[in-house]
Amino acid sequence: MTASAVSAAGKATAVPKTAAGRASRARRTAVAWLFLAPFALVFLVYTAIPTVAALALSLTDIRGADLRTPFAVDFTGVENYLRLFQDETFVRDILNTALFVAVGVPLTMGIGFTLALALNSGISRLRGVLRTVFFAPVVTNVVAVALIWQYAFHVDGTVNKLLGAVGFAGPNWLDDPNLAMPVVILLGVWRNFGIAMVLFLAGLQAVPRDVYEAAALDGAGRWRQLRYITLPLLLPTTLMVSVLLTVFYLQVFDEPYLLTGGGPLGSTESVALYTYRQFGAGEFGMSSAASFVTLALVTVVSVVQFRMLRSRT
């Protein structure tokens, strides 16, 4: 029997008609679930149950002290959500997170896209080295890098020393409510532009060379080629990268937590930091409600952006 005949026979049993066929299908299902069991267990314990439980907690007044008796808490309906949106600090944190997304996403994509274009423009020397350097920040540890940032943006630090050398009096970056956010966003952008660059590079390399050659023959210059060929063909990549980064930045925690702790005066506190602060204060119900607002935002962004992607391709 040839291999293809065997796989054809295998497909035929996928719709079992006989008792023996059903038994073999049941056996194969059991074996497959054995393969899946360890993953399924971790998924149930650490994703499925926590998600459902978080929704349940967000509808109760559970606090840290109730952990041992989780069923003794009161059901309070949407009260936590109402309290959230009446809490000025939560509204402020939503706006901070929105600012992080609104500035961080275009900046990260812009840098990643420009570098990808440059690396894809036919240069050969140093290409590998440059790509390595631009990608290196992606693999760095955020705690370590945040310390370097604090050291460099200290009021007497290296950044201000460099600014001083060209005649500017450097400010106290991380203690200034107007300047702390840009420094925090800069750390996020530095750690993520490499991801955007690699994804754009993959997109660019999928564009066939002869499309450009044909355009050049028709007299289209570099800018027109970029505008009318590269950008439209990269639209799926662009949407994918924008969804990805939006989802990252909507959940931003590490950068503000480590650099400023959300300060000064809450000017860098994100929704994720609010969630963590409520958790730390033992307000598990409020914390879960805040985390569900993040989940809702992430879901809406993903669905809307993927709809856009599907309608255009």
Partner: protein, 273 residues
């Protein structure tokens, strides 16, 4: 590209590369400066006198040896779990025909999308209930079968021809022998990507170990470094902290230099890290 444009392009790219590297240079330079020197001239670009004193202080007085061991143990559990559990799941999703396959694949996709901030509170409650709070197992387990790894292995397994596995089935080999004896040896590149991605994930993880670890005995490197930083804040002992930063970053950067193909594939294939 024209003759004049090319040098301009190179110059711009090299300048960008230097700017990207600047934080690394600050970190290395600061880690080699003594406390006194940093106090008297905090903003100097280069050390006046090189010293390794910060590194020895880390291990002698700050307990970094313990944190290194903890980080390695957690990473080993995570990597082993991903190679076995996630590979098996990815293989089953791609190569076995069974009831509930669509449901299982949906679970993998959903698990990749649920934001960590949405579940860490209840994950922590469950960890406490399981008696795993303040243990290395409690830190490692949620990452021991990453949906990302399952996805990577599933995509790879789809490219392995069915005929190979069917031939073994005809010869009477059991499904587990086919997986371990035939499929896994063929899946080297996917196993390498999963190893790298799950190691990176575990080594750099911060907020989850921060929540679970409650004593120095279970601190991983990033948590230990953050704790050292809080304790040292009043003396701004940057030399010590930057030495810690280098210790945390160096293993991953060295791995990255040698295995960057897998890092890039892992990140580019899924957009996650």
């Amino acid at each position: 590209m024209s003759r004049t444009a090319r040098p301009v392009m190179y110059a711009a790219l090299v300048l960008c590369a230097l700017l990207t590297m600047l934080p690394f240079a600050w970190g290395v330079s600061g880690s080699l400066r003594s406390l006194d020197e940093i106090r008297s001239d905090p903003g100097a670009l280069l050390p006046h006198h090189l010293t390794l004193g910060n590194f020895t202080r880390l291990f002698e007085t700050q307990g970094f040896g313990r944190f290194v061991v903890n980080s390695v143990v957690v990473a080993l559990i995570v990597v082993a779990g991903n190679i076995l559990a996630a590979s098996a799941a990815g293989y089953a999703l791609a190569k076995l025909d069974f009831a509930g396959r669509r449901l299982a694949f949906g679970a993998v996709m959903a698990a990749m999308m649920v934001p960590f901030t949405a579940v860490f509170v209840t994950q922590f409650v469950i960890t406490v209930d399981l008696g795993l709070a303040d243990t290395l197992a409690g830190i490692a387990l949620p990452g021991a079968a990453l949906p990302l790894s399952v996805f990577i292995m599933r995509q790879y397994a789809l490219s392995v021809p069915d005929e190979l596995l069917e031939a073994a089935r005809i010869d009477g080999a059991g499904e587990f022998r086919i997986f371990f004896g035939i499929f896994l040896p063929l899946a080297g590149p996917a196993v390498a990507t999963i190893t790298i991605m799950s190691f990176l994930n575990s080594w750099n993880n911060f907020i989850w170990p921060l929540v679970v670890a409650q004593s120095m005995a279970t601190y991983t490197l990033p948590v230990g470094l953050a704790a050292t930083s809080q304790a040292a804040a009043h003396v701004t002992d940057y030399g010590l902290l930057l030495a810690g930063a280098i210790v945390v970053m160096l293993p991953v950067l060295v791995l990255f230099l040698f295995l960057q193909r897998y890092f890039v594939q892992g990140v580019a294939g899924t957009g996650l890290r």
